[in-house]
């Protein structure tokens, strides 16, 4: 699926990659850039890429149908260019102010609550960002981290346990 297009509501498939970010907010676009780099790989696998600006409750339906979900996002807390991959579990205690945007753990919990299932494997890949102001294009440190992030996801798609570290 082309980055920038919206998520398919009935997304099926073994692996669902949810790339989250705002392409007009500097390094917040890194997930979309990673998604672009994965297009070729995804075309010949059972993976599907969804690019969005935020995680919304309606994505729980697509998530519930996937065997594995990979959330990709920029991190404002991590050092610029730092790639991190961590397992995510459903969070049964979500903040009261939850609205139309959710975090990955809440999406998994919603998937369980609404559809009685969630992916057997869920991970969050983040890349530390440096600049998040209104702008297009990644900072050099974040841009240089894209190949590593892509490689880590390729490892996951190849079911390489070492990809999570």
């Amino acid at each position: 699926m082309k980055p920038g297009a919206t998520d398919p509501v009935n997304g099926m498939g073994g692996v669902l990659i949810l790339a989250c970010g705002n392409p007009l907010r500097g390094d917040d676009a890194v997930a979309w850039r990673i998604a672009e780099s994965l297009q070729g790989l995804v075309a010949c696998s059972d993976a599907e890429i969804v690019c969005s600006q935020q995680l919304a409750p309606e994505m729980a339906e697509s998530v519930s149908r996937a065997e594995c979900v990979i959330f990709v996002d920029a991190s404002a807390a991590a050092p610029p260019g730092c790639v991190s991959l961590v397992p995510i579990a459903a969070d049964k205690d979500c903040p009261a102010s939850l609205t139309h945007q959710l975090n990955p753990a809440a999406i998994l919990a919603l998937s369980n609550a609404l559809y009685g299932k969630s992916p057997t494997r869920a991970v969050l890949l983040t890349v530390g960002g440096e600049r998040f102001e209104l702008s297009e294009g990644l900072s050099p440190a974040v841009s240089q981290a894209v190949p590593e992030a892509v490689e880590r996801i390729e490892g996951l798609l190849a079911r390489d346990p070492a990809a999570i570290s």
Partner: protein, 474 residues
């Protein structure tokens, strides 16, 4: 000693707000202020840009209701072109606007308000959210998700993407509807109708649990404003403006949207960036009015589709004259979803909907244009002026949430007087103060044209300005 309570930020809203409750020496709330603390300035930075860029630029005001801005802006540009757009283009824009209403109302009802309605205003805050709804009533949660997807999917099929579609252009739309897309939408209608009807049955059966909220959630006489069709039906895309009063009587009718400045003026208050529009002949603040789902069903004599008309009759029987409690915005929202689904069906059943003549061509023919449409939250108005080269020299936007500003402030005071009774704020108190605002489903991003965050702060302050208590939700 009197106190001031401040709620900052307010949660489950589109935007960022703060509430201050001022108490008197007896500890009773005597004043309430709803502060909208953002400003972005779309009206200013569009100056110097070509007018035909406005639909896409103005749509960026909001990620929830961009279609509404797209349509109002395109209509203002149609006026500058001085063209009458092809009939099928108007129908296609109408479908897009109704789809926007469905997805936005579904978000408001199921995601933002159903936690209060299903679990109760005093429920554990940790559970009182969409996840709590999913646990307590998964069928309702799934229905809400599917209904929102239904609206979004129509927008995506017509406009190419769900958020910020660029399909609506000055003069019409830029692509006709293909038959496979029409059929795809038609195939989704039975499920959407069934979900909405089922939710209406549940909601009506729940009203008995909210008698106190119904009586105190911005329940007072006011004027109501909205677009109206030629046969007194609720109108969402075109038509004239109508003001009615609390008795349901027409105050002003057949008003040309282009002459809005003759009857709407905006007041400013020092505690907020959001302006206070009012009905000019009655002055400020007496001329305050409400817009949106409640207002649209109050000013109309029918919806214009069979199922929604049955519901409208039942709805209007709630009260003699106009339905005054803003709690019933929720009820009206569900009826409007039903009507929108039925109306989309009617429009798609017309063979002309596939007509390929969807855009009128013209150059700039006048230097001023006004575009008005009904957004999910109420009447939306875009007014542009351009120079001889078609470059923007001035813009004025009156946003649905802004029209409701006076009513929201009065509603907060009413509910705070009823529920806030001590020096220490309880969650139930705070939630009801928030919930009265949520009933209006305000979009603060739109009303200030500012980037939205959704936190809330309530502060309790003494008459001398001393902060006595504060509650915050991020």
């Amino acid at each position: 000693m009197g106190k001031k309570i401040v709620i900052d930020p307010v949660t489950r809203l589109e935007g960022h707000a703060k509430i201050t409750l001022q108490t008197d020496d007896r500890g009773e709330v005597q004043a309430a202020y709803f502060h909208v603390t953002q400003l972005r300035g779309f009206e200013k930075f569009c100056e110097g840009r070509p007018f035909y860029e406005m639909p896409n630029i103005m749509a960026r005001i909001c990620g929830i209701c961009p279609v509404s801005h797209l349509i109002a802006s395109a209509k203002a540009c149609d006026a500058i072109l001085a063209v009458r757009i092809p009939p099928v283009a108007a129908k296609l824009r109408r479908i897009l606007n109704l789809a926007q209403l469905i997805q936005s109302h579904a978000l408001s009802f199921f995601y933002l308000s159903s936690p209060d309605l299903l679990l109760g205003m005093d429920a554990d805050p940790a559970e009182r959210n969409i996840l709590g709804v999913a646990r307590a009533n998964p069928e309702m949660g799934r229905g809400g998700v599917r209904l929102r997807q239904f609206g979004q999917h129509i927008i995506e099929l017509l406009g190419g993407k769900r958020i910020h579609p660029g399909w609506v252009v000055p003069g019409g739309v830029n692509e006709p509807l293909a038959s496979d897309k029409r059929d795809a939408i038609l195939a989704m209608i039975p499920e959407a109708l069934a979900t909405t009807e089922k939710t209406l049955v549940w909601f009506k059966s729940s009203l008995g649990k909210f008698t106190e909220e119904i009586s105190t959630f911005a329940n007072f006489p006011s004027l109501f404003l909205g677009l109206i069709g030629p046969d007194d039906t609720a109108e969402y895309y075109d038509g004239k403006l109508r003001f009615t009063d609390a008795r349901g009587e027409i105050v002003a009718d057949g008003l040309s949207p282009a002459r809005y400045a003759d009857y709407i003026e905006e007041a400013v208050e020092p505690f907020t960036f959001m302006k206070f529009p009012y009905y000019k002949p009655m002055g400020y603040p007496e001329g305050h009015y409400r817009v949106g789902p409640l207002a649209r069903l109050n000013i109309a004599q029918r919806c214009g589709t069979p199922l929604a008309d049955q519901e409208w009759v039942e709805f209007r029987a709630l009260q003699r004259g106009a339905v005054l409690s803003s709690f019933h915005y929720h009820y009206a929202r569900l009826i409007e979803i039903l009507h929108a689904i039925e109306y989309i069906h009617v429009l798609l059943d017309d063979p002309e909907i596939l007509n390929k003549q969807v855009r009128a061509s013209a150059a700039m023919n006048t230097d001023e244009g006004v575009g008005v449409a009904e957004a999910p939250r109420g009447t939306l108005l875009h007014h542009y002026k351009v120079d001889e080269n078609g470059l923007m020299t001035w813009a004025n936007l009156i946003i649905a949430t802004g029209h409701n500003n006076s009513a929201m402030n009065r509603g907060i005071l009413q509910v705070a007087k009823r529920f806030v009774r001590s020096e220490k704020l309880t969650d139930g108190m705070l939630n009801r103060v928030e919930a009265v605002i949520r009933a209006f489903d305000p979009c603060l991003s739109c009303s200030t044209h500012a980037i939205g965050q959704m936190p809330l702060v309530i502060r309790l302050v003494a008459p001398d300005g001393a902060l006595l208590d504060e509650a915050r939700r991020d």
